[in-house]
Subunit: 208 residues, 3 copies
């Protein structure tokens, strides 16, 4: 079977490798977030690692977009590829946003259950990376998309419980403001994995 991205994109352009690299950085950042939340001994250093991955992806995305804009493909395919890159990038932007808030807000102690939410993000980004890796061969792509959807529902459920607990247990409104935002930003990162899965699904179905 001919490669899926190759049908859309000239092989020599190296688009597939750029996409895999982008998704690898997102997965690495999610893993760093779990380490950060589990130890919380040097949050500034952990946040710095995630920030560096975010900068790396900014550069990669810019490179990819430029390559894309200069490549002769149909506008329609271009839009899909553009959206795919942009939404993969969003996942890392939100992971970075959560990490930097943990530092800026001078969080002292991680609330119970928040690391679980980050673990779901690790699972979702691992599936996202897997989907991007097999997109070229169109090999069981949709199975990864279905799993991402399941994980997003799981993150949604966890987020709702975390915020219900926050309102029940925490009496300091300032702590509520800070933690509500951190939890919601982490959950939105998983939402964005689902957006990536939807684009991947669209690309797959259109090129079936």
């Amino acid at each position: 079977m001919p490669g899926l991205l190759s049908k859309l994109l000239p092989r020599e352009a190296g688009f597939h490798d750029l996409f895999v690299e982008l998704a690898e950085n997102v997965y690495a950042a999610a893993q760093a977030m779990v380490v950060m939340l589990e130890n919380f001994s040097n949050p500034a250093a952990d946040a710095e690692k995630i920030k560096n991955l975010e900068h790396a992806n900014d550069t990669l995305t810019h490179k990819l977009m430029n390559k894309l804009n200069r490549t002769f493909i149909t506008p329609f395919d271009r839009e899909d590829i553009h959206e795919l890159a942009s939404e993969i990038d969003d996942v890392l932007d939100l992971t970075d946003a959560a990490a930097s808030r943990l530092v800026t807000y001078h969080v002292e102690k991680i609330r119970p259950g928040v690391a679980d939410l980050a673990r779901v993000l690790v699972d979702a980004t691992r599936e996202m990376l897997a989907a991007v890796r097999v997109l070229e061969q169109n090999d069981h792509v949709l199975e990864h998309c279905i799993e991402i959807n399941r994980l997003e529902n799981e993150a949604d459920r966890l987020c709702r419980n975390l915020i219900a607990n926050l309102f029940e247990q925490e009496k300091d409104p300032v702590q509520i403001i800070k933690w509500k935002e951190i939890i919601e930003v982490l959950e939105t990162a998983t939402d964005k994995c689902e957006d990536v899965a939807n684009v991947v699904e669209t690309i797959t179905l259109k090129n079936a």
Copy 2:
């Protein structure tokens, strides 16, 4: 005059019926929200009804997107139809988000004026359903879009007043956090009706 959606979409595919069903569920959810806010005797049961409509629309949207991706239409038309379905769905997602927060946040008493905001959402979703119903015949579609725009401005005005009152009357910051979010989520649902109206307007004008 030839049907508008039929020009874009093969008639046998049944797209028009799916769109109407989608919009009917959104309208039903907005009505359930008003009932929930007016009585507030069994919020969990009311939220459950809205959640069921949300699940039904998830299934419908997925069906519609699959059908769309497998149908031979121009990419451009496909994008419009895709956006229309996705934005109709967003209105119900936000209605559900408001309903579930009323339960999760253990709200005890509905603040005055909030039901008025939900009534504007009912009006806007009724117009949205009407617009979708006549889109096929392109019969006075734009009149419904104009009315949705008017209702969105009305919701915006109500929302601003509700939040101003909230800050003036409520002294408990935790109540402010909870209610500010519920009010804003409801208002965003009406914003999304306006996004639907904009897509409908675009489809209508392009196919005039």
Copy 3:
């Protein structure tokens, strides 16, 4: 060299002038925001000025979209132009949202540093206007885009510091809720300038 927008759009349609007018209003609103924050003697009157510019842009955008939908250009180009107009408009919507909150929330005194954030918005909207003005001739367009990206990073850094200071210095949670939102809305206005820069860059590269 042939004009860039003229390649996309019929010259007689007057699209270029509409875009320039749209961007001029955005720039004027950002300047009015700085005046509002620096004096804060009659916030309601200042907010009214910004609101009037926002209404003017709503009318302009509607006119532009109608013209666009009735013009024979490729769907792909149409999408870009549509997105450009819509994102320029978003910058002013957010400026207006910040201004109206300063009034509705009965803010009494402007926090130190907030006017600096608005000054970065003035710089970013000035560059945005410059980019729109030279887009037709494709004359050093990308230099303005790069400068907007730099300003967005600057706004991001200022916003983070302002919110860190807010949590450290302000003890009243209600003040934290109000100011956190006003600062974030202002920062999002600058984010939107970056979105405009990205569309401008895409249009430029595709038509190089």
